[in-house]
Symmetry: C2
Subunit: 221 residues, 2 copies
C-alpha cells in the first residue's frame, strides 16, 4: 500500500548488486560505478533511489537483518516454551542464536552467502555504520543474555558475556571466512553444509559455556 509496490525493480537490482559486491570486495573498495554496472543501471540511480552510498549500504542491511533477528527471537521463544518452568536448554538457546545466521547461505532469497559473508564481516569492519546497525541487535542481545543467565545461574555476568562474545566470534568467522577453512582443511571440511556447521558450532560453544569457571585465579592444575 504505502509505497513498497511503487518501486521499479531497479531498486532491487541495485540492492542485489551492492550486496554481492560489498560482500565480495568490501564496502570501501566497491564504487557506485561497479554497482550500477553490475545492476545494469545508470550511475545516478543510486543517488536517486537511496540518496547516497552510505544510505545504500544501510538499505542493503536493513533489507535482510530484520528477518534474521526475528527468527532468532522466535526460536528462542520455542526453546523457552519447550522448557516450561525450567530454564531452557543451553544448546537450544545457542542454536537459536546461531542457526538463523548460518542458514542464510542456503537461502538465496534472503541474500545467500553474499549477505551472510557481509554480515559476518560487519562485526570487525571499522565503519562507523556499525553503531547504527548494532541498534538492531540490542533486543536480540538482551533476550539471549537473559536466557543464558537462566541456563547458567551460577555463572558471573563477566564470564557469560565473554563466552557469548567468543561464540559470536566463531559464528562471524564461519560466516565470513568459510573459504579459508575450506582451503586450509584441504577438503576435510565443507562450510557449505549448513546443518553440519550449525551442529558443530553449537556443540563447540555449548561445551565452552559449560566449562568449569576459571574465576578463582590462584589454582594451578
Amino acid at each position: 500500500m504505502s509505497d513498497s509496490t511503487r518501486h521499479t525493480d531497479t531498486r532491487e537490482r541495485l540492492l542485489d548488486a551492492a550486496e554481492y559486491l560489498f560482500a565480495q570486495r568490501g564496502v570501501d573498495a566497491t564504487s557506485l560505478r561497479h554497482i550500477t554496472a553490475e545492476a545494469a543501471a545508470n550511475l545516478a540511480s543510486v543517488n536517486y533511489h537511496f540518496g547516497s552510498k552510505e544510505a545504500l549500504f544501510r538499505a542493503v542491511f536493513a533489507r535482510r537483518i530484520g528477518p534474521v533477528n526475528q527468527e532468532r527471537l522466535e526460536r528462542l521463544d520455542a526453546c523457552e516454551r519447550a522448557a516450561g518452568q525450567r530454564p531452557p536448554e543451553l544448546e537450544c538457546v545457542l542454536e537459536a542464536f546461531v542457526a538463523p545466521a548460518l542458514r542464510l547461505r542456503l537461502d538465496p532469497a534472503h541474500g545467500g552467502e553474499h549477505f551472510m559473508c557481509l554480515m559476518g564481516r560487519l562485526y570487525t569492519e571499522p565503519h562507523g555504520l556499525k553503531t547504527v546497525i548494532f541498534e538492531q541487535f540490542r533486543e536480540v542481545f538482551q533476550r539471549f543474555t537473559e536466557a543464558l543467565h537462566r541456563c547458567l545461574p551460577d555463572m558471573s555476568r563477566e564470564v557469560l558475556f565473554w563466552r557469548l562474545f567468543f561464540t559470536v566470534g566463531s559464528m562471524a568467522h564461519t560466516m565470513s571466512a568459510g573459504a579459508i577453512l575450506e582451503h586450509f582443511s584441504q577438503g576435510h571440511c565443507d562450510p557449505a553444509d549448513a546443518d553440519k556447521t550449525i551442529r558443530y558450532l553449537t556443540v563447540f560453544a555449548a561445551a565452552g559455556f559449560g566449562a568449569a569457571l576459571p574465576e578463582s585465579s590462584g589454582e594451578s592444575t
Copy 2:
C-alpha cells in the same frame, strides 16, 4: 650490514603511522596522504621507500607477524618438551597459539593494540593480500594441527579443523572487536586485561575441543 641500518627513521615512522591508521580506519579508507601527514613525511616518501601502498601494507605486516608466529612455535615446543613422551596438554597447546597474539596489546614495541586489531581483522577482510600473508601461517597451522591431533587422537580431521577454526574465530574477534564487548557488557568485561582474556579463551576453547563428538548424527539427547 646488508641495508637495514642504512634506512632513516622515516621508514619506521611511515610504518608506525600506517599501522596505526590501517588499524583505526581500515586499509582502503586510509590514504597515503593521511599516512604521510601522520608520519610528518612527504607524500612521495611512501613510494620511495616501499614502492606502492600495497607494498607498504605488506611491510607493515611483515615487520610484526614473524615474532608472533615464532613465539607460538617456541611455546608449542615448550608444551611438547614438558609432556615428554606423552601428548601435550590441550590447554597448553591452545594457549601457545592464542597468547602471543592476544598479548600484542600489552607490547607497544610490537605494535600494541593497533597491530593486534589489524591482524585480527585480516582474517575477514576481502583483500587479495590475504593469500600472500597466509603463507606465513602455514607452518604454524601445520605444527598446531599435528599437536592437537596428538592431544585428541580419536578425533577426526574434520572435527579437529572445525574446532581450530572456531578457536581462531574467537581469537580474531577478540583481537579486532574487543571494543564491542566492552560496550555491550557495560563494564563487566575488560578486554585490556590480556592475561584474563587469554585464560578465558583458553578454557572456553579447550572445553569446546573436548566436547563429545557430534559425528553420529542419529543420537538425540
